[in-house]
């Protein structure tokens, strides 16, 4: 089932045409990787899905982005609700300078009006369990989040997202600052999470895209050149530009 469908999606930063007529379909409960050289528009596309580009001056978008059949580019879209439903993980983990506990309940406190301490405890436990951090952190929930390792911080940021029950997780280079072991843990976590969420990951790391994703899209100069099953893209891509990029001949 398609979770996100884009129809003739175009985006301009002022005069720069950053996304050109993107037609795509992202399936639910799958991990989709978007790959492509720097500046090809992959992060821009990711940010369209929770309207993060709205924060940039001079951005113009047209076409349609349907999430669960609703066009989120409509002017009356509730952006707070959208960003609750479509969470984002960034390149550098960005926990708040608060305790581990407070980081996780932060979103819930904003979105819910009154919430009991017991309910918050439950959310913290469940979210940390989902990101496989509970056993490591359950005895020091009041410790500052900034003291965690990079990989723990990244997983904490994912737990913070999960706490507000999103449907979609957007990940923009989530492992680029992590070492191989920490990367492996986050990738393992992604595989666990895809049963409950739809995940879209932007990555420069081709091997990571090949390892972790079910589907892959290749972008170049704002166009979505090829989109399909990851196995097919990495063994028998149809477009020569995809072949050149993934075999390192591009440029």
């Amino acid at each position: 089932m398609a979770k996100i469908v884009t129809k003739n999606l175009n985006l301009w930063y002022g005069g720069f045409h950053a996304l050109k007529d993107i037609n795509s379909s992202f399936e639910a409960n799958r991990i989709t990787a978007i790959i492509g050289p720097s500046g090809c528009g992959k992060s821009t596309m990711l940010r369209v899905f929770n309207r993060m580009n709205d924060l940039i001056e001079g951005v113009r978008t047209n076409g349609e982005v349907l999430i669960d059949d609703t066009n989120i580019l409509n002017s009356h879209t509730d952006l707070v609700a959208l960003r609750k439903k479509v969470g984002m993980v960034f390149q550098r983990p960005n926990p708040f300078p608060l305790s581990i506990y407070e980081n996780i309940v932060f979103g819930e406190k904003i979105h819910a009006e009154r919430i009991s301490r017991d309910r918050l405890d439950e959310i913290v436990e469940k979210s940390l369990k989902d990101v496989l951090l509970w056993d490591e952190l359950k005895d020091r929930l009041n410790a500052p989040a900034l003291r965690l390792s990079l990989e723990q911080k990244q997983r904490l940021c994912i737990a913070r997202l999960i706490a507000v029950k999103p449907d979609l997780l957007l990940m923009d280079e989530p492992c680029s600052t992590l070492d191989p072991q920490a990367t492996a843990k986050v990738e393992e976590l992604m595989r666990e999470l895809k049963n409950k969420y739809t995940i879209i990951i932007v990555t420069h790391n081709m091997q990571q895209a090949a390892r972790v994703s079910d589907d892959t899209g290749f972008m170049l100069l704002g166009e979505l050149i090829e989109f399909g099953n990851t196995d097919t893209i990495f063994t028998t891509p149809k477009d020569k530009r995809t072949e050149d990029y993934i075999t390192g001949k591009y440029g």
Binding site: F234, T235, I246, K249
Partner: protein, 223 residues
């Protein structure tokens, strides 16, 4: 953009080609030894096989190294994995040339059973198939690879012809011919097996070039 990796792929490619040439020579010499009742020639094929085995290991190691160090994708990945498979097929073909030579040694001192007609024909088919399969690999020529795959049925027919003749016209009539007829029957079988391995090579070439799996899907050949 020329990559350092391309240089390593070229070396691998040359090694596979060398393996192909050595294998072709082994088949040719084993058949010549049969035709000329040449004991020395047959022994030479058996002795040369060690060099082919060594090269097989070198190629395998190179392929594994390239996969481990470069994590190849797409066309590069298909080339390397196909290269590994072709390497193994060629080594098996060379072993069959050794088997033929051993059969030659078994009959060379015995009186001729019959003039050889269909076995040389079968050997020509086998040698042409091996040559074309290697050419198809070199030139990335899918049409030539398909031709190789289609030739296999001809080899099967000839093998059956040889088999029926040796069984019905010789062994059934006079069991005393068996010591000379069985080695010939086995040679026909070895040649037919060479054709089978060569068919695998041709199927691998089609996968390498087009990413299309022909193996066990003969209907794909027509497309």
């Amino acid at each position: 953009m020329e990559r350092h990796f391309d240089e390593e792929l070229k070396t691998l490619y040359k090694d596979i080609l060398k393996m192909g040439i050595m294998t072709q020579e082994a088949i040719y010499k084993s058949i010549e030894a049969l035709k000329n009742r040449d004991k020395q020639g047959a022994k030479q094929v058996i002795d040369t096989d060690d060099k082919i085995d060594e090269l097989e290991l070198v190629i395998d190691e190179k392929c594994i190294d390239l996969i481990a160090r470069h994590q190849p994708m797409a066309g590069d990945l298909r080339f390397i994995t196909t290269g590994m498979k072709i390497n193994a097929e060629l080594e098996r073909i060379a072993d069959l040339a050794v088997d033929i030579s051993q059969r030659v040694l078994e009959i060379v001192d015995k009186p001729i059973l019959k003039p050889l007609i269909d076995i040389p024909k079968l050997s020509v088919i086998a040698q042409n198939m091996v040559r074309d399969a290697i050419d198809a690999f070199v030139k990335k020529d899918v049409e030539l690879a398909k031709k190789v795959v289609l030739s296999d049925s001809e080899a099967d027919k000839l093998r059956n012809l040889v088999q029926n003749e040796l069984i019905n016209d010789y062994m059934a009539k006079d069991s005393g011919t068996a010591p000379r007829a069985v080695p010939l029957l086995l040679i026909a079988r070895h040649l037919e097996r060479i054709c089978d391995h060569t068919t695998n090579i041709a199927e691998d070439v089609i996968y390498m070039v087009e990413g299309k799996v022909i193996k066990h899907h003969p209907e794909e050949l027509a497309q």
